[in-house]
Symmetry: C2
């Protein structure tokens, strides 16, 4: 009998249904299960001799901890659940990547779920994460109101932080970007490039991102005296297709705006594509901006000017908040007030907008 397990594809210890338990390891090592547990989980004091014997026995038997049993005992799974509105949206997958990295640093794993942009699916996913005793939940709610009940109910049971989007009427931690500030940068940049009127293309106002971005857009446009016709505010969903449809509609109107501000990059990609199809020069005739800075943003023709979300920072803060909430809950406490962290994003200027018209500046003396 050899101590190595891999290789020939069907060996003794393998095969489903006969997993080695701590008791078998204990027997083989001639010690108690408690000692095995202490050695293998690294808690408590053990002699070097015991360590050797236990590890050896465990290796020989091919022992693997059963984290289900461990979780039942510890009521802690070292697993965090994450729910995103749509796993096919590149922004969310890159956010997931950042969260995974942040969690990895804490020795935790991620259990990712896709809400398929449907609050009901989302509610089921949240419930099943709760049932599986994840240590905390990170959620980007798919709907600005309909997601409320499920999110709040989940937050009442375990640490939860909302990411990027948030849902009204809930009382939980949140980390995201300051959409108002982002739109200020966008509008100012467009204005510097000569735009005096602008359209807005976003999703329906069923999530906080669009709401905030539209609000920010309106406010700053007014401040900079940009013309915004009501017909130029087009709301659909976060897809390339809708971006294309929006341009088709704009093209049928009497006047074209100087700029089209999009609530995310997918829409913006659709917009630039459709502009090309309609023979509308970007940025010559119309400037276009996106939001999120997904990987494909630079692939648009022309490459998209967009708002870069500080994903790593967002993820780090979220994980930190989760850990704080978990330890607060552990030593008994009432949950304190919720944190709302709004990070300031930065504008990434590419070819879909015009370079700012040169303005008089004080020269270096």
């Amino acid at each position: 009998m050899r101590s190595t397990e891999a290789g020939n594809g069907r060996q003794g210890a393998g095969g489903p249904g006969n997993r080695v338990t701590i008791a078998e390891v204990a027997e083989r090592a001639g010690v108690s299960t408690a000692t095995v547990s202490r050695v293998l989980s690294g808690r408590g004091q053990t002699s070097a001799e015991m360590q050797r014997r236990v590890r050896r026995a465990a290796d020989e038997l091919g022992y693997r901890v059963n984290s289900i049993a461990r979780a039942l005992r510890n009521s802690r799974t070292d697993t965090v659940g994450m729910v995103v509105p749509s796993i096919t949206n590149p922004f969310f997958t890159s956010l997931v990547e950042s969260v995974e990295h942040a969690l990895g640093r804490e020795g935790k794993e991620l259990f990712l779920c896709d809400a398929q942009s449907d609050p009901e699916v989302e509610a089921r996913r949240l419930a099943s994460l709760v049932a599986r005793n994840v240590d905390g939940i990170i959620v980007s709610p798919s709907h600005g109101t309909a997601s409320g009940a499920a999110v709040q109910e989940t937050a009442d049971r375990l640490p939860l932080v909302q990411l990027d989007r948030f849902v009204g009427g809930t009382d939980t931690d949140w980390v995201g970007v300051d959409d108002i500030a982002a739109m200020r940068q966008v509008i100012d940049h467009l204005h510097d490039g000569g735009a005096r009127s602008a359209a807005f293309v976003g999703s329906q106002l069923t999530n906080s991102s669009t709401e905030q971005r539209l609000a920010g857009f309106r406010r700053r446009a007014a401040e900079r005296d940009l013309t915004v016709l009501e017909d130029w505010v087009l709301l659909g969903d976060y897809t390339v297709e809708f971006g294309e449809a929006a341009v088709a509609r704009l093209a049928r109107m009497d006047a074209l705006p100087d700029a089209i501000v999009c609530a995310d990059d997918l829409i913006a990609l659709g917009v630039t594509r459709a502009c090309r199809a309609h023979g509308i020069d970007v940025p010559g005739r119309v400037q276009v901006t996106g939001f999120d800075n997904i990987e494909f943003a630079r692939l648009g023709e022309p490459a998209l000017t967009t708002v870069d979300q500080p994903r790593d920072r967002i993820a780090t803060e979220a994980v930190r908040l989760l850990a704080a909430a978990a330890s607060a809950a552990a030593d008994g406490g009432e949950r304190g007030p919720c944190a709302h962290i709004a990070l300031i994003p930065s504008l990434v200027v590419r070819d879909s907008t015009r370079a700012p018209a040169p303005r008089e500046r004080p020269t270096d003396h």
Copy 2:
């Protein structure tokens, strides 16, 4: 005391650490825990009266099953694990979406992990899925050889099916597409469009997809007398950046091929973009093809001709195989021979290739 839970954000039953157990429900209902279990899990016979009383008590207390405990008892979690090489690759996310749908029909959930294109991370993810007692694993191995040990070791412990890619030297079920047949279609189409020479741009030969696709490319190119200079086979990785770099290299050579066949759409997107940058007309001077038919394929300039993978079908077959393996393992059996299912993909013709030159055809009489 009310029976509703949601609403004010901090109510009695809520808060971490005090979950309702089946024993409390039993007490309130004035029955045994066994009866509660029978009612709530729907197994075994129970009178209507009991059902009512138990459910009522459960509702009032806000009981939720603890699936950790249930899993420990049942040694079944109704959860399937999935590991993909890179969660930021749109092909894999859409595959994940298909798998989720297929699993949803079986009442199972998905636990998704990202291997970050690193066999070591992949091995850790696999191990932790095993430790968490998932009922089965779906994996697209990140490396054609280095992933072998971990994949095989996992497969020895529980039902596992490889998806899309597979790793050499393993003995597990596999579902994917017939890359050789796919390349036959690609080459024939390019030839019909007048191409007489072709380059190939793919990742390093560290995964089965590229290996197979290059092999299929070479074979069919030879059969159709397409010229393939050795310098025209460029291997890097599955990224837009590499596609761009490949064109830069090709552009420095003496002769340009009539066509560039890419091993996936990300590369192809990079290739078309770089061609534009280098002033190489697509498809006028060079035809370009991709592979996978990701959503962004149609957004290239020009839109990409590519090979469409039948994701839903792949996912369905994978889930079926997993279920079969699970039930085979349940009634004790040795695992039977492995299934290798290669589906035939279809070519999606768009603007990055030329329409076939009109050929003589028998006219309808």
